[in-house]
């Protein structure tokens, strides 16, 4: 592939004190790719996702988004930590959707979506409001703009959260188990929105237990366990014909 990879990780390590969570992750995510991260809990997949937008600092290796190092600047052979402001600027272009939605409870759905464009980009309120209404309409919540998060179902909240991330017009979207906190009958509506995003060519990294979604929508899949990449390839191949014993054992339990 000739284009700059959207995300490139080389020997990424992360530990909390004595706990060594990531033990050398190497992977590349191409632009417009839907990249699925699967694996048992505690395998480090969520931690890795959070490293991509610097919610966690990596302890070793190199991690870059769109050719830019995450959290550092390189001058010669020295690395310089970025200031908080510069880190914030890097995060603007990376949308993130959390397992527990993390909507702002004191703002309506519309205000949640408007918040970042107005506060971070300094966009005019009228412009931001218009786009927020359009985005909420697109995720199927055009009639819920005035509702507070507590008045919405889990699936609706997660769709607002997706609209909120999209309002910053990101080049990369990170999904951290977006359907794990949802009642089973609400999973579909969130996956539908994500499928629509994938069809439009959004680059997405999805930590998920939804193997059906990974198989249908995913372009690449990585199986992680114990802080390392065990197996990777096209979702259909990995999921139907796993090569590693650990992958086989995991898939036999979830499929």
């Amino acid at each position: 592939m000739s284009a700059v990879p959207m995300v490139k990780a080389e020997a990424v390590h992360k530990s909390y004190g004595a706990a060594h969570i990531l033990r050398g992750i190497d992977l590349e995510v191409a632009p417009r790719e839907v990249f699925c991260l699967v694996g048992p809990s505690g395998s480090g997949k969520s931690t890795f996702l959070r490293c991509i937008n610097h919610l966690e600092k990596i302890n070793g290796g190199r991690l870059s988004v769109d050719g830019q190092l995450v959290g550092y600047r390189q001058k010669g052979d020295k690395l310089y930590e970025l200031k908080d402001k510069e880190v914030a600027a890097q995060r603007r272009d990376i949308g993130m959707v959390f397992q527990r939605f993390n909507l702002f409870p004191h703002m309506t759905a519309l205000e949640n979506v408007m918040e970042a464009p107005v506060q971070v980009k300094g966009e005019a309120k009228a412009v931001a409001r218009e786009r927020a209404a359009r985005l909420l309409d697109r995720v199927g919540l055009g009639d819920r703009t005035g509702n507070y998060p507590s008045q919405l179902s889990g699936g609706q909240q997660q769709r607002v959260a997706i609209a909120r991330a999209l309002a910053m017009e990101p080049k990369l979207m990170l999904f951290d188990e977006p359907t794990s906190a949802l009642d089973p009958e609400l999973v579909g509506e969130v996956l539908d929105v994500m499928r629509g995003l994938a069809d439009e060519g959004m680059t997405m990294i999805v930590v998920t237990h939804e193997m059906g979604f990974a198989r249908e929508v995913g372009d690449a899949l990585v199986f992680m366990d114990g802080g390392v990449v065990v197996e990777s390839g096209h979702p259909r191949e990995v999921l139907t014909n796993p090569q590693h014993d650990r992958t086989k054992a995991f898939l036999s339990k979830v499929l």
């Binding site: 919610l55 908080d84 993390n102 702002f104 004191h106 971070v120 998060p149 909120r164």
Partner: protein, 312 residues
């Protein structure tokens, strides 16, 4: 795709055809203990009232002086001092709380030291200290402001600094608890959107912290109103001092203390009502239905009492 659930095609309930069940008629549990305790309480109350009626107390002095101009001035001064000290305490307290939680070790140590000193010494001692600093500093010189200490440190200034700076230490702990009560996911979500630390604090964390901060702050206001009575020692003319002045000239010491106590009760009651509505307002967004106000409760009770008559 999601399938819309048609709720109209459920099984039809029995309520559609059968008459409503008869109301249960049962003998309620008798609470004899309540009657006994009520009688005991009334007896004790009667004894207290009797004792005070036998004392040499000139009760007519209380209404006579209740709206005396000097008492009203004392009330005004007490209220003004309460408000000014609380504003100073809340603003400084919020700043201290943010400093205390800062990653910068210098600012967090400064905040820690401030709280250590101002919470660790009695407010009475602090008031006296501010008032008497003039004994060691004849002048104040802040560079842009220079004055004789006695002109600068008026009774009001001594009272304001003594109460306000002390209050800031307590308020900072309240605000800190509020900030820490906000889920970490909120900060993460704001950071993930590219919001700076300051914006995250102002737009996301502090508004949500308010729900935890407001109820104890209401208590602090009520507490402050009463604590202002200590400023008698720095010669500030507050409600208590106004009462004491009249007591000295008229000789009605206990009567004036009664009068002052009634005024304090009126003021704290009004503040408590205000606090109720403030708490209700900040519950917005966290509960689906707001708790009813006392007025709404009264209205609901009246309606439920009236309904049988309306039905006839």
């Amino acid at each position: 795709m999601t399938n819309p659930v048609d709720k109209t095609e459920g099984p039809t309930g029995p309520s559609a055809t059968s008459p409503p069940p008869a109301a249960i008629k049962a003998i309620p549990v008798r609470h004899y203990g309540r009657w006994v305790s009520a009688v005991v309480v009334f007896a004790l109350l009667a004894m207290v009232v009797y004792a005070f009626s036998q004392g040499d107390i000139n009760y007519t002095a209380i209404p006579d002086y209740f709206f005396d101009p000097s008492i009203l001035e004392g009330v005004r001064n007490t209220l003004w001092l309460t408000v000014a000290s609380m504003v100073l305490g809340v603003v400084l307290g919020a700043i201290l709380a943010v400093m205390r939680l800062s990653k910068n070790p210098v600012t967090s140590s400064v905040a820690w030291g401030y709280i250590w000193f101002f919470r660790g010494t009695p407010v009475y001692v602090q008031l006296l200290l501010w008032f008497n600093l003039g004994l060691v500093f004849p002048y104040i010189n802040l560079g842009f402001y220079r004055d004789e200490w006695a002109d600068f440190m008026t009774p009001f200034m001594a009272a304001l600094l003594g109460l306000g700076l002390n209050e800031a230490a307590y308020m900072s702990e309240i605000v800190r608890a509020g900030i820490q009560s906000v889920d970490e996911g909120q900060t993460e979500a704001a950071h993930a959107l590219g919001m700076s630390h300051g914006k995250t604090l102002r737009r996301v964390v502090l508004p949500q912290a308010m729900r935890v901060v407001v109820p104890p702050t209401g208590n602090e206001v009520i507490n402050m109103l009463k604590t202002t009575s200590l400023v008698v020692v720095v010669q500030y003319f507050d409600l208590l001092r106004a009462g004491q002045n009249i007591a000295q000239t008229s000789g009605a010491t206990v009567e004036m203390l009664f009068l002052v106590a009634v005024w304090y009760l009126i003021l704290t009651t009004v503040l408590s009502i205000g606090q109720f509505y403030l708490e209700r307002r900040y519950a917005r967004g966290s509960t689906r239905n707001l708790p009813p106000t006392p007025w709404q409760k009264v209205r609901a009770n009246l309606i439920s009492l009236r309904r049988p008559e309306v039905a006839k």
